[in-house]
Symmetry: C2
Subunit: 203 residues, 2 copies
């Protein structure tokens, strides 16, 4: 018992639950397995989080928070539009690459459980106002080609997230299952994807 008893147990449970839920989804996750991963037993698990539902709710919110707020922080900054795109693409690809299963987990749960989880957006303030404004200004100032701000935002995010969540398909199909080649591609994207976007819009 080197452990300081309780202290981090709640946290250990949460981390174990995150792993299990992200890997197997709500339906596929097992409370026993979460307990195992946390190095505790089932009774204690229920002692901390009364039910699977409750625990899942906490995990989902936490996981969602882990990837969503980055939007605001970078997008609301006062950088130049092009630099902001470069900055965001690089940072966001790094973030997602470090936790590649999260987006699929979130999308799958939202997809198979429409409604119930939509509250999760409520508390998160994803704010694109400054970025939208910047895009509009750049369009009107003739710096970039006409584009609906929302469309550009969607393009940027698509190019960051999809190549990472589609790894199980991309790696075998395009890179003969060679992880190095795949990782090189992701590294490349941190700069290349941004330039791709900028080339697409600059007039």
């Amino acid at each position: 018992m080197v452990e300081k008893k309780n202290s981090s147990t709640e946290q250990k449970i949460l981390e174990a639950a995150m792993l299990e839920f992200i890997e197997k989804g709500m339906a596929g996750a097992r409370m026993q397995e979460i307990a195992n991963r946390a190095g505790i037993n089932k009774a204690l698990l229920h002692y901390y989080y009364r039910s699977k539902d409750k625990l899942f709710g906490v995990v989902f919110r936490q996981v969602f928070h882990a990837i969503a707020p980055k939007f605001s922080t970078i997008f609301q900054s006062e950088e130049d539009l092009f630099d902001k795109i470069r900055h965001f693409v690089s940072e966001y690809i790094s973030l997602i690459h470090s936790t590649p299963h999260i987006p699929v987990f979130v999308l799958h749960e939202l997809s198979s459980n429409p409604g119930r989880l939509s509250e999760s957006f409520m508390d998160i303030s994803i704010n694109f106002d400054r970025l939208k404004q910047q895009i509009d200004e750049a369009v009107e100032g003739g710096r970039i080609k006409p584009i609906v701000p929302e469309d550009l935002i969607i393009n940027i995010i698509s190019l960051c997230i999809f190549p990472i969540i589609a790894r199980p398909i991309i790696m075998p199909v395009l890179y003969e299952d060679n992880p190095d080649q795949y990782n090189q591609m992701i590294e490349r994207r941190k700069t290349q994807a941004a330039e791709f976007i900028i080339n697409a819009i600059k007039s």
Copy 2:
């Protein structure tokens, strides 16, 4: 009993199973619910497909085939590169938009079941050779900016699929939960996404 008895039962089961599996995933799907959806009873369901595993295998393969081969057919054609991109983007967005849950389903199952399903790629011949060649030629001929063919292919596919699978996030966050606005965006993309890509690469 207007039905011609057996004949289409196997097909009805398959369709019901597709719905259930795509919606709930392998772990969340229920054999009883599949039987209900097919309008038959559980005994008959097992009579046709011995086990859930077997049924899932058939469904997964079939679902995967439904969205993968389009790659080859369009990408191997002898169209001009830019037209091919326009053609593919429009067709593929339409296809995915008509069955928006499939990509998330596939990615989720591949993600939570690495290995076991990788055989599914085997039989499918996704062939990008002609497209890669075309891109290389266009780069060497100076028609487009230098780019690794694989990178461009990934960009194209990302811009088609992601905006559709991320609908549960995009619609509330960017369009105040208004489906019309969302659908307009998807319609717009059928042409705009292609032009975005072409602008990004043409020199």
